[in-house]
Structure formats: structure tokens, C-alpha cells
Amino acid sequence: MFGQLLASLTDGLLLGFVYGLAAMGLSLIWGVMTVINLAHGPVIAMGMFGSYFLFIQAGVNPYLALLPVASLGLVAGFLIYGTAVHWVIDAPHLSSLLATFAVNMIIIGLGTAAFTTSPHNIDYPLGALRAGDWFSVSYTRLIAAVAAVAITAGLYLFLYFTRPGKAIRAVANNRMAAELMGIPSAYILALSFGIGTMLAALAGGLIATFFPFTILSGGPYELKSFVICVLGGLGNPLGALVGGLLLGGLEGIIPTIMPVSWVPVVEFGLFVLVLLVRPTGLFGAK
């Protein structure tokens, strides 16, 4: 029993890092421009397909494929921001919500037409780290977790030690004051949105290394991202990572001790509890 718990907790936590990475993108966008990006799920799915096609068509190692996938995610973010979000950035939240929902539907529609909803798979097994007969963790999850931590560290270095990063933080703090200091907020907002979608695409690229996927596969991760953002604190990227770990850990442990149908009950119960007791999230909103 202990072995089962440990193995499932490890599996869940490793997956939680990737959940956290996906949620970080959503959190960053909310933190900087208070936009709830409903196109987050399809962007995660685009990251999956990006890795898939680079692997299948060009034979690119799925981990090296993360570099072009990140670039594509960034460009996709600029495009989405420029066409759908920028024009409603100061409008009530419902407008940006509808705008990103429209993008969500367009990407899913085009993706369904192009790729159907048949599952796709990146056949790149790396085996498992084993300890006796009771503990095993697949290397694809381990690598994904390490990559998620590295990307998070990179994001922090970018936000705290580069001029554009500091500008993002300034705009997030007080957009008008930042503009008065000469920061071109429109560009910074576009950059923030781009980085947010880049993180989502990277999460998709990593998930694709261990789960088969369809164009609809981003949906559940988008939903998890909302829960994680509330758990960790909306707009707080580090909180998103910790929230991801919490969610992943719960998903790992609960099925080992009670029926799996309890997973959403516990997850969303916790979600409501955090909203009631600590509405700014466990780590506070930023």
C-alpha cells in the first residue's frame, strides 16, 4: 500500500509540474491584463500538434521540438492578442471573455477540420525508472517535470532580470504609471499574452510526450488551469506551479485510496474552500 501511494504520489506530482506550467500561462495573462484567456486549451492542443508534426514529419526529437513550439506559441499569442484581445482590453471582462472564446472555437473548428478528433501519438518511449516491483516512474514524466521547472526558472529570470520582464511587471502593477514612465504598454501587453500562450504551447508539447491527444485535449488542462490559478492565486506564476503540484498530487493519491469519481469532488471542494477562506489564493494574487 505504501509503495502504491508513493508511486502514485510521484506520478501525480510530476504531472502536477506540467499542470502548473500550463496554468502559469493563464495566470500571467490574467496578472498583467486581467483577461481570462478561454483560448488557453486550444493553444495547449496546438503545442501538442506542433511537437507531433515536427516529430512525425521532420523526425525532430520531441524535446528539441519544444524550441520551435515555443516560438510558434509566442507568435500565436501575438496574433491572438492583436486580432482579438487588444481591441477589447479596456472593455468589461465579458468582452475579452467572448473574444477569447471566439478564438477558442475557431482554433477547435479549424483543428477538427484539419486533424479530425482521432487520437494522435508521439511514439517516443523512454522506459521507466524502477525500484523493485512496487515503484516505477516513466522517464517522459520525469523529463517533463524537469523541463517545467527549468521553464519556470527561466520565466522568473526573465521577469526579474531583463528590461522587458521588468516592464511586464511594471504594467501588471500599474499600467498608467508604466505608460507615464515611457513603457509602451500595448507592446508589453502583446508580449505578455505571447509569453502566456508560449507557456501553454510548451505544456502541450510536454504532455504530448506521454499522453495521446486530440485537438480537444487542451480542454481538461484549461479547466485544471483555472482551478490551479485560484488555488495558487490569480496572477501569481509561482502560485500556479505550486497549485499544479497540489492538484497533481491529489489526482495521484485519491484513486489509490477511494473511488476515482471522488477526484473532482475533492478538487472542486478544495477550490470552493479556497475561494471562501482565502479568495486571493494560497499564495495571494499578484
Binding site: L15, M105, G127
Partner: protein, 446 residues
């Protein structure tokens, strides 16, 4: 400035909704389009003799999961139906004794793999599109939802991809099953395991908690225990699950066989994770996904996985074998079906889902021809009494009130992914032994 952009976004949203299938397409398959010529269709269930000597268009209605989690299986099924309709129409249709020629037209919609869409769409198929005969959507829950509408509206429905036994115990009188019932899906795997590894004792069952898979594993559990096996794990996962690690971690060390699964998406993910986690077992036998050619995309993770199949191109159902059984043969040979399917669908090898779709249409054709009418009661009488051999195997329906329409003639096949001498993955028939293409092999990590 913002208003025009917002209008554009609204337009794009509508466009996106249309594309993603929220208001789903109504176009018949290409093959059906060619046939949908006559404008004046006869009234529903109008006796064929009114069109005596002429051409009588019969609308076959169905929904198909063109999007959603059942897309792979449903697409193959619809391919089978389309091929059947192409062939029967190209061959001049079905000639009735009064000289009327029955030709078939397809009407179908995307049910998005959602049960709630099915009843609405089947009602539309019957009332608006005037479908006279129905073919079920893929999967037991969807087919059961459609069966209620078919029965209420006095329409015969052939189910394909709907193996759950319980559907046929609900008192329906017009619903006929083409698949071997789910209670007999995985039971042959237990017999194969007993032969393959005589010392094997422990079986772990991990399954999707849907109607079909639950029916399968309940029967499997009882059968395995009756054969002296110990079921060391019996665990269900929610439909739509993607991470199976917690379930795989529960599989005790020293297990001899892992059985279960659900549908294509979850089962292929489960097989991949079992492989990645390096679980040791002598046999891995899973539902639905392994017989699909697409399962080979899993690469090494597919190797050694056994799957129950309703039909395989390598099966040996022939007119000669039918003669020996003293059963009437009807329809194309296995080779004719396989080759014409490959020719129509760019070389794609038909799976049992494709064959199931084809044979559902073939049964409607047979029953109309035999009844000499398209009248529901006349066709029902033929189906109730039929005992038929086809390229797909033997077909016979239970006609008792308790299990009306349940398939009692058809037998399961087991396939296993193995490597050919060139190292390429091929799906071999390993059961029944009478026409296996290769002996069963142990799961690579045993």
C-alpha cells in the same frame, strides 16, 4: 473603432461554432450524394407496391460520431455503411417481386459522440428526413439512446458497434444486434491465457466505467473466476480519463494478465502507460483499440497487446463453410469486401468497425429482398427468423421476448500485435485456433 471589430468577432464565433460541429453538418456521405436524385420521396413506410415497376428510394438514417472521443471507431463504421450503399446501388438495388427496384439513400448527422444529441437527431431522421430503416450510432450508450426512438417510431434499427447485452433486454422488438454481445468479448482471452501460461492464476481488470466496458468486464470477472483464476484487481476509471498511472500502480506485482480497457482513446493511452511503466505480465488483453490499425502508432507499446475483434480480414468465413453448416450465404466474400474497401478508402485496411457498418446495411438489404417488401413488419419477420452466413461471420438473432434482437450466431476473434520477420508490427489473428494466422505470444515483459 471597437464596434466593427466586435461584429467581426461575433461573425468569427459563429463561423467557429459551425466548423467545430456545434450545429452539425447534415450532408450525406459522398457516395450517398450521388444517389440522392429523386425529389419526390414516398411517404414513410408507404408500401412498396405503390411504386410498382419504378424505383423506390429508401432512406437509411443514422448518426455518426464524426467528432468527439468515438471518432475513430465511428468513422470506420460509417465507411462500411457507405461502401455497402455504393455497392448495392451500383448493382441495381434490390428488386422486389412486383418489379419495384429499391435503392438506398443515406441521411446522417454528427452526434459529436454525445448521447444527448442522438435522440434529437434520430427523431429528426424519422420525422423530417423520413428514414425508413435505421442504423445505430457507434457505442452502446449512443445506440441505446437511438433504440428508444426507433422503437417508439416503429422503425427497424440494426445496431453496429453496440455490443452491450443489456440493450437487448429492455423489451425492444425492432432492434437487431450485429456484434457479438459484450458478455463474450474477453472471455476467450481467459481460455487463451490458460493455454498460453498454464501456471497463470492472477488477473487484474482495469476498465472504463461505461455501459459496454462494464458489461464486458462483469462477464469476464465471472468467467475468469469460474475457470479458477484469481481477480486481484477490479478497478474502473471514468470515461475521458487520460492518466492511468494511479490504476497501473495498483496492479500487484506478479500479476499474470491485465485485461479491460474501454474505447480507443483511453485504451490506447492505457496500453502506452502500461508499457512505459514497465509492468510485467504474461498477457495484456484490451478492448476496442488493439484491432484498430491506428493502434500500431503506439509502436513498441502495441507489441504483444491482444484485442477482441468482431471480424478480421484474415478470418475464414466462406460460402463453402456455410454449406457445411447448412446455413444460407449472403453478400460479398471477405476478399471482395476487403479489396473494395481498400480501393475506396485509399488503401486503408478495414477494421471490424468497418465490417460491422457494412453488415448492418447488408442485413437490411437481405431482409428487404427476402421479404419482398420494405414494410416494417415483413422485414422484421425475416430478421427474426434469419440464420445467415456472411463475410463477417454467422448472424442469428435471439427472438425471445427476454433478449429480442441479441446476436447469438456471431463469434469473437482475438488478435495480437506481433512483429513480422522484417520487424514491422502486424496484427495477427491468434484465436480461434482454426483460422489463426500466428500462435499467441507472451506479452514482451513477462
Amino acid at each position: 473603432m471597437r464596434k466593427p471589430w466586435f461584429c467581426v468577432l461575433v461573425v468569427l464565433t459563429v463561423f467557429g461554432l459551425m466548423l467545430s460541429g456545434c450545429g452539425k453538418s447534415e450532408s450525406p456521405p459522398p457516395a450517398a450524394k450521388k444517389e440522392a436524385k429523386p425529389a419526390e420521396k414516398p411517404a414513410v413506410a408507404e408500401p412498396a407496391k405503390k411504386a410498382a415497376g419504378g424505383v423506390r428510394e429508401v432512406v437509411i438514417g443514422f448518426t455518426s460520431s464524426q467528432t468527439g472521443k468515438l471518432n475513430v471507431e465511428a468513422t470506420r463504421q460509417i465507411n462500411g455503411v457507405t461502401l455497402w450503399m455504393d455497392q448495392v446501388n451500383a448493382a441495381g438495388g434490390v428488386k422486389l417481386p412486383d418489379g419495384t427496384v429499391v435503392k438506398f439513400t443515406a441521411k446522417y448527422y454528427d452526434d459529436e459522440s454525445k448521447k444527448e444529441r442522438v435522440q434529437e437527431l434520430y427523431t429528426k431522421l424519422i420525422n423530417t428526413d423520413k428514414a425508413e430503416f435505421l442504423i445505430s450510432p457507434y457505442s452502446s450508450p449512443l445506440a441505446e439512446a437511438a433504440a428508444l426512438i426507433a422503437q417508439q417510431n416503429n422503425r427497424i434499427m440494426l445496431t453496429a458497434g453496440a455490443a452491450s447485452d443489456s440493450t437487448y433486454r429492455m423489451g425492444f422488438t425492432l432492434i437487431y444486434q450485429t456484434y457479438t454481445p459484450s458478455s463474450r468479448y474477453l472471455t476467450p482471452a481467459v481460455d487463451v491465457l490458460a493455454k498460453l501460461a498454464p501456471g497463470a492464476k492472477k488477473v487484474a481488470i482495469v476498465h472504463e466505467k461505461d455501459k459496454f466496458s462494464t458489461d464486458v468486464v462483469k462477464a469476464l470477472d465471472a468467467y475468469a473466476k469460474s475457470k479458477g483464476f484469481e481477480v486481484v484487481l477490479f478497478e474502473g476509471y471514468e470515461p475521458g480519463a487520460t492518466d492511468f498511472a494511479p490504476f497501473i500502480n495498483k496492479i500487484p506485482a506478479g500479476v499474470d494478465a491485465i485485461m479491460g480497457g474501454g474505447h480507443f482513446a483511453d485504451t490506447s493511452t492505457f496500453a502506452r502507460q502500461v508499457f512505459e511503466k514497465g509492468v510485467k505480465a504474461k498477457m495484456v488483453a484490451l478492448l476496442v483499440a488493439p484491432p484498430e490499425p491506428k493502434f500500431a502508432e503506439l509502436g513498441e507499446a502495441a507489441l504483444g497487446v491482444i484485442g477482441p475483434s468482431q471480424w478480421e480480414p484474415a478470418a475464414k468465413y466462406t460460402p463453402e463453410a456455410a454449406k457445411v453448416l447448412n446455413v444460407e450465404w449472403f453478400g460479398p466474400s471477405i476478399n471482395d469486401f476487403t479489396e473494395s474497401y481498400k480501393a475506396k478508402f485509399k488503401g486503408e485496411v478495414p477494421s471490424y468497425h468497418s465490417a460491422g457498418g457494412y453488415v448492418a446495411g447488408l442485413l437490411i438489404q437481405y431482409a428487404i429482398a427476402k421479404a419482398g417488401s420494405v414494410d416494417t413488419q415483413a422485414v422484421k419477420k425475416v430478421l427474426d427468423g434469419c440464420d445467415l452466413a456472411t463475410f463477417y461471420g454467422r448472424l442469428k438473432f435471439d427472438n425471445t421476448p427476454q433478449n429480442h434482437g441479441l446476436q447469438v450466431g456471431h463469434e469473437m476473434i482475438l488478435t495480437q500485435w506481433q512483429k513480422d520477420p522484417q520487424g514491422k508490427l502486424v496484427n495477427q489473428v491468434v484465436y480461434p485456433e482454426a483460422f489463426r494466422t500466428a500462435p499467441t505470444a507472451l506479452y514482451p515483459r513477462n
